[in-house]
Amino acid sequence: MSVHIIRPGLLATIQDLGRYGFQQYGVVVGGAMDSFSFRLGNVLVGNEEGEAAIEVTMMGTSLQFKEDTLISITGGNLNPVIDGSPVPLWRPVFVKKDTVLSFAGCQSGCRAYVAVAGGFSIPSVMNSKSTYVRGEIGGFKGRALKEGDVIPLAEENAFSLKVKKVLQKKLKNDSFAAADWYVPFERYLNGKVVRVVKGAEFEEFSELAQKQFFEQEFQITPQSDRMGYRLSGPSLQLKQSFELLSEAVANGTIQVPSDGNPIVLLADRQTTGGYPRIGQIAAADLPIIAQMKPGDRVRFKEISLHEAEQLYMEREKEIKQIRTALLLKERSVE
C-alpha cells in the first residue's frame, strides 16, 4: 500500500508532533503547524494522535492512493476534490484504489492534513517522522515531497479496518465515500483575534508599544514560512535598548527585532532567540495563526497565564471526548 505524489503543489511535507528532546543540541522541533487539526485527522482514521501525516500548504498538491485507503482531511479548507467532487473535511473518508485527491486552492485557512489509516511506513529520525526541510532531516528523505515520490503505508489497526469496511459498503459509483459523522473543529481555526500572554520582556517596551500591540492590527507579510511569520504594523519600540542573552523560545513566541516589526515563531523555529519577547500565543490559539497566510490580518488580545491554561485544558478535554465518542461510534456502526 502506498501513496504516490502526482504533484507536490506549493509545499507538501510529512509531519508529526515534532522532534522533542533535542533542542539542547540545537535540533529544531518542527512538526505540524496546526497540531490540533493534525491530531484530529489521525484520531478520525483510528491512528495514534502523533502518527505521521501529510501537511499540504495552500494549493496544487495531488496524491494518488494505490490501494483502497481510509483517509481524513482536516485543517484549512483547501478545496480538496476527487474526480471533480468536493471531499468533505473533518471525517473519515474511504477512497478506492487509484483515486486521485487534489487540492484546488484556499477557501479558508492555509494548511490541510491528509491522515491515512495506519500512517506512513518511513523511518523515524530522532524519535520523529516530521520533515525539517532546512536541516534536511526526517520525513521522506529529509525533504519536501516531489512528483513521483512513492510513500509506503503501514498496516491499519482493527478500528481503521472496521470503519473502512463500513464506508466501503456506502460506496456507489464514486471513487470515495465519506462518513456521515464529523468533528466541527474549523470554528477554532477561522478567528482573526489571537489570545496572547505577556512575554518575559513585555515591560521593556514603551507604553505606546504596549498599547499598540494589543490595540492595533498586524498583517502577515510574504516573508513568512513554517519557521515564523514576520508581521507588519505599528513599529514596536523599547523604552531603551538593552542587551539580552539568547533565551528559550517556544511555538507561538512573539519576538521583536530592533526594526520594531514582530516575528511570530512557529513549528520550525530556532531553539533560542535573542530578541525581546513581547508575547506568547496561547496554545489553544496556535491553530488560528498557523492557518493564516500572507496578507491576512491579526489582532492580539491579552489574557492571563491562568486563562491560557484553562483554554488549553478545555481544548484537550474536547479532543479526549471526541476520541471516546469515535471509539463508541466504531462499535455501533454497521
Binding site: 456521515d180 459523522w181 466541527p184 471526541i322 471516546t324 465518542a325 469515535l326 463508541l328
Partner: protein, 153 residues
C-alpha cells in the same frame, strides 16, 4: 487512557438513553452498566409524553387536514442516537430543511451531536417535510421522532 470524566460522560449519556444494559471494553478494561427497570411499560410511555409536552398541541394545529391519514413508520425520521439536535450546520447558516421543503433520499436533514461528535441524519426516502418535531438545540432520545415526512409516490 480513559479518565474518570470520560466514564462519567458515558454513564450520563447511557442514563438518559433508552439503553438498559451496556457493556464497554477498552484496552483490557471492562465495564458493565445495568439500569433497574423501575417503570412498567405503560408508565414509560407516559413519561415519554411528559418529556415533550408541547408536541401534541403542535400536532393538532399543523396537521388538521391530514388527521385521518395514518402515519406509517417510514414517514417519520427518527433520531439514530441520544444527543443534541441541531437544525443547522452553523449558527449563521439556514436550517438544513424546514416544513414544506422537498427532500431526497440521502439528503442531510439535521445533525445530532453526542460528545462533540456530529452525526448527520439523512432522509431515507424522497418526500416532503411536513413538520419539524424538535427545536434547535434540544436533547433527543434514541428513536425519538425528529421530522414528520410525506413520502413522495
Amino acid at each position: 487512557m480513559i479518565k474518570m470524566s470520560d466514564f462519567q460522560e458515558m454513564v450520563n449519556i447511557i442514563d438518559r438513553s433508552s439503553v438498559n444494559v451496556f457493556t464497554f471494553e477498552y484496552e483490557g478494561m471492562k465495564m458493565k452498566l445495568e439500569k433497574q427497570p423501575v417503570l412498567q411499560e405503560k408508565d414509560q410511555k407516559q413519561e415519554f409524553d411528559v418529556s415533550m409536552p408541547n408536541q401534541p398541541t403542535l400536532h393538532e394545529q399543523t396537521n388538521e387536514t391530514s388527521k385521518d391519514e395514518v402515519i406509517s413508520k417510514d414517514e417519520v425520521i427518527n433520531s439514530p442516537m441520544v444527543g443534541t439536535f441541531y437544525a443547522r450546520a452553523n449558527e449563521d447558516e439556514d436550517p438544513f430543511v424546514q416544513a414544506g421543503d422537498a427532500v431526497e433520499k440521502g439528503q442531510v436533514v439535521c445533525i445530532v451531536e453526542a460528545m462533540k461528535l456530529f452525526n448527520e441524519v439523512q432522509a431515507d426516502v424522497d418526500g416532503e417535510i411536513v413538520e419539524v418535531l424538535v427545536k434547535d438545540g434540544e436533547v433527543v432520545e434514541y428513536g425519538q421522532p425528529l421530522f414528520k415526512l410525506k413520502k413522495r409516490s
